[in-house]
């Protein structure tokens, strides 16, 4: 297992958001992390990445305890595609991608020709190498997300964490990003952990799913078997129904429209 969490409890200022979680994700698989707003998905990602000290338990990446690794070592194993991407200064897309080489590039040095070629290859994989010279801040949300994804790929790590990669994307781009992630996870034998809200995207593109509810894992396993009506309505709310379209495609839709306005 590339990534393993044992008995993890973590929170802010003494109040645990998540308690006693155990989970593991294998190589070449894309795993969705689902749960309501504030259920602790992002907290869990930060904890896996070693950014949030946890009071209890153990995180191991490729068999090594995360607490014993320095930032540069972690960066060679885990890349993160952040949720909101904004740069206070105007960098070109290539410069943005190249930043992820920091763990490999000496502090007093700058990216070599070889690294630049590698960054261009990563941008090629997400289909944006024609944008290399364009200012990052002038791009649309979807294009920026592709640049951040290329940055993650350029970091060239066995594990990749994505925090709601779809939050700023239109319908077509959501599917494009997910399909790309699925293909890359297989091709590069990467472990991909992605936080998602849409159960349909989870069902179509993810091999495994972990559902977090009330500070613990409510259900975990292969997507097809795990995403049942019962589990989904427990985690996402009562107003959920699983159905099949005429073509035989699995869909999760609200049971009642308009929904009850009791927003949680």
């Amino acid at each position: 297992m590339n990534l393993r969490l044992e008995n993890i409890s973590v929170g802010y200022g003494g109040t645990p958001v998540i308690s006693h979680i155990n989970l593991s994700v294998g190589a070449g698989r894309i795993c969705a992390l689902m749960g309501r707003n504030g259920s602790g998905k992002t907290t869990l990602l930060r904890c896996i990445n070693g950014l949030l000290p946890f009071s209890e338990g153990r995180v191991t990446i490729l068999g090594q305890d995360i607490k014993k690794l320095g930032r540069d070592k972690i960066a060679k194993m885990i890349s993160v595609v952040p949720q909101v991407s904004f740069s206070p200064f105007s960098f070109s897309c290539l410069d943005m991608v190249l930043m992820a080489g920091a763990a490999r590039i000496k502090a007093w040095s700058a990216p070599s020709k070889k690294e630049k070629q590698k960054a261009m290859d990563a941008m090629g994989e997400t289909g944006i190498n024609h944008m290399a010279g364009r200012p990052f801040n002038t791009l649309s949300g979807g294009e920026r997300q592709l640049v951040m994804l290329a940055r993650g790929l350029f970091q060239d790590t066995p594990i990749m964490l994505l925090d709601e990669p779809n939050s700023h994307l239109d319908f077509a781009n959501q599917h494009k990003i997910m399909a790309l992630m699925q293909r890359l996870a297989r091709k590069r034998k990467m472990t991909v952990l992605v936080t998602l809200h849409d159960p349909n995207l989870t069902h179509y593109y993810c091999d495994d799913v972990i559902l977090i509810h009330e500070g613990g894992v409510r259900a975990m396993g292969e997507t097809g078997a795990t995403l049942t009506n019962e589990v989904l309505s427990c985690v996402l709310g009562d107003n959920i129904e699983c159905d099949m379209t005429k073509r035989g495609v699995f869909v999760v839709i609200p049971k009642q429209i308009p929904v009850n306005m009791n927003i949680r």
Binding site: G70, A75, V80, F89, F91, M99, A102, W108
Partner: protein, 335 residues
């Protein structure tokens, strides 16, 4: 992009030459060439410099120009670094209190210690560094390690030292001490000498070089703190490194020539228009432009009026409208 560098590279020696000619005691361009060659043993058959011209040129004007170039380069580079660290194009190198601390230190020396240059400089430098250290300690007491906490701590410490400075000014003798303190807070190169050049260059030159060598990492420091961490940078440690080098440069400059307003903020902006935001290119451009800019400003300060104009008045008067012009006229914003 290459063209910009060539132009800047050509502009620098031209401006340097013009500044060498200009002053309260103007020297003809031909004579400047002769004066420059004289110490190298090239005796000029057509022009033998009179000894007073030789003295003014080599003991007053040359060290003053060298000092203004390096102070300009140092403060501007520090400004670019602070803008990157605080992810804010409006950050200035005095944001953590170095200028306020130095001002207080200088006033304290003028008022209560000996009003000797060495004492004032030492006191200004010590208090400048102390102010930033205090801001750092105050920020580290917070659980939040983000740069905004550091900025607030800087404001708090600045305010305290500013109050101290105001108090000293309030009780100072208005006929000598107060005038000296006021003149210090507005800065001037009028006391430039080889001794001051020798006192500042050993800090400024390695400082600027150090920032240039470690400039690529500044790109990553401009990204969100957690993003930078997940790309493998130990943000807190690197921030201390950059702040330390920049603060030493600013404290050493300010303690020798007094406060120099605006250039730490404006020069990185001009450099960004010319070289882009990528710090590998931005930092050298900032250093060169800072040198050119302050050299011109100081030449204005020492030439246009019978008496010296404090340098901060000139830098603000020219610098601020120039920034306004850049912002309005730029087709596409570079920041």
């Amino acid at each position: 992009m290459k063209k910009t560098w060539v132009i800047v590279g050509l502009v620098f020696p031209v401006i340097l030459f013009i500044c060498l000619c200009t002053g309260r005691y103007p020297i003809q361009p031909g004579h400047v060439a002769g004066l420059l060659l004289a110490p190298l043993g090239f005796e000029n058959r057509f022009f033998v410099a009179p000894s007073d011209m030789m003295m003014i040129f080599w003991n007053v004007r040359v060290p003053r120009i060298i000092l203004s170039i390096f102070v300009g380069a140092g403060i501007s580079t520090a400004g670019a670094v602070f803008q990157a660290l605080f992810r804010n194009p409006l950050a200035a190198p005095d944001i953590l209190g170095v200028t306020a601390g130095s001002g207080f230190g200088a006033a304290l020396a003028i008022m209560f210690l000996a009003p000797l240059a060495v004492v004032i400089q030492t006191s200004a430098f010590t208090f400048g560094i102390t102010a930033v250290t205090l801001a750092y300690i105050l920020a580290s007491l917070s659980r939040d390690s983000s740069p905004s906490v550091l900025v607030i701590s800087g404001i708090v410490i600045s305010a305290i030292f500013q109050a101290g400075l105001s108090f000293i000014m309030y009780i100072a003798n208005p006929y000598d001490q107060l005038a000296q303190i006021v003149f210090w807070t507005m800065g001037s190169f009028n006391t430039a000498s080889w001794v001051k050049v020798r006192g500042t260059l050993p800090l400024l030159l390695p400082g600027i070089l150090m920032i240039m060598i470690f400039s690529w990492r500044l790109n990553i420091m401009t990204q969100g703190e957690e993003d930078a961490e997940s790309m493998g940078i130990h943000v807190v440690r690197w921030r201390i490194f950059y702040v330390l080098v920049s603060t030493l440069m600013v404290a050493c400059s300010v303690s020798v020539v007094g406060n120099v307003a605006w250039i730490g903020l404006i020069v990185p902006h001009i450099a960004r228009y010319l070289a882009g935001s990528e710090h590998r290119r931005l930092i050298p451009m900032t250093a060169i432009l800072g040198g050119i800019f302050l050299m011109i400003m100081d030449t204005v300060a020492r030439s246009v009026m019978l008496s010296e104009i404090p340098i901060s008045i000139v830098t603000s008067m020219f610098g601020a409208p120039f920034l306004g012009y850049l912002v309005v006229s730029a087709g596409k914003a570079r920041f």
